[in-house]
Symmetry: C2
Subunit: 206 residues, 2 copies
């Protein structure tokens, strides 16, 4: 059996990553979402082992030490990382695993796993992004400004991704995401067993 | 505007290339089919400038000489080649152009146009291919045997293609073909203008 795909989804804050992932998990059985470990404090409504594994800095550093993370990065004052065991177990079962991680982590994943599929989701332009952040009504002007400044930096990394999706409609973008993954499964380099089988059946006709 | 995609479709005789192309052109407006030039004689029902541009060997050699073909190959005793003008005109207009060519030509296209998308269509195994060739009722046992021997040789090239499609249902395989092309259009390297636009809009917020 072919391995599952390691999929990285990144995007600007406000571009709709979370909504896309929820929609994907709701509409398709075949995806598993990797849950990151972090040293940041849970926000209101966040649940341990659902949004994140919330761990202490000591615990996080021990995970790094024991090679239990496939990537990790520090953002502002907090660590974020992807636990290895869950991801590898799913991939071996042929299940596609989505990592929702930021740009530094994404680049590290691509270095370690060149067969991973990196998808970046964006709005069409900065104005739309700003409007979406404002419409959330949960953030202050200063926070919105910080997120937009961060987006400008993140945009420098888009070319290191394999695909770019523009989120204009959640239905469309979710369908496009799924199409990309289905198409990736048809890449010849992911189908060595199938190709060998076809070759053998043509060579050894009875 | 981004260029159209150069798409190469190859596959074993009997795997359904022709049916897929007809279905694609029927269901979607966006594809253009390149018509090859050949020195072989028209078969019954074939029309000049529809199935092929039927030309003399002298004419074909002149086309090579004048760099009017983007690839050409000799198969059995006949030349086959892809006229350049039509393909380049469509690509420049942003239209995706399909070349239905055999494996040698496909490999040459990939060398010259690394951004081309190469798709190979196969049946699940040799038995199904043989059954399909027999069910056509147009070919003799000897011809079918020749086609299967040729398929065994062609199978060695599958790994040089980007994607493999297994034709189990014409509806499914046509949809999959189109999904692959739509996904390819979302590759970051094909969206430089869009990415620059997003970057600029984030840098130059007013």
């Amino acid at each position: 059996m072919e391995q599952g795909l390691l999929i990285v989804l990144s995007g600007f804050s406000g571009a709709g990553k979370g909504t896309i992932i929820n929609k994907l998990l709701e509409q398709y059985d075949k995806y598993a979402l990797s849950i990151s470990a972090t040293t940041r404090k849970p926000r209101e409504g966040e649940v341990h082992a659902r949004e994140y594994f919330f761990v202490s800095t000591e615990e996080f550093l021990a995970m790094i030490e024991n090679d239990e993370l496939i990537e990790h990065a520090k953002y502002v004052d907090n660590y974020y990382g992807t636990p290895r065991a869950y991801v590898e177990e799913k991939l071996q079962k042929g299940i596609d695993v989505i990592l929702e991680i930021e740009v530094q982590g994404a680049v590290k994943i691509k270095e370690k796993f060149p067969e991973a599929v990196l998808i970046f989701v964006s709005t069409k332009d900065a104005k739309i992004l700003e409007d979406r952040l404002k419409s959330r009504n949960t953030e202050k002007a200063k926070q919105i400004e910080d997120r937009l400044l961060r987006a400008a930096k993140e945009a420098e990394f888009i070319k290191q991704y394999d695909y770019i999706l523009i989120n204009e409609s959640i239905e469309e973008v979710t369908k496009d995401f799924n199409s990309i993954i289905e198409s990736e499964h048809k890449k010849t380099f992911r189908n060595n067993e199938l190709i060998e089988f076809i070759k053998d059946s043509l060579k050894n006709r009875s």
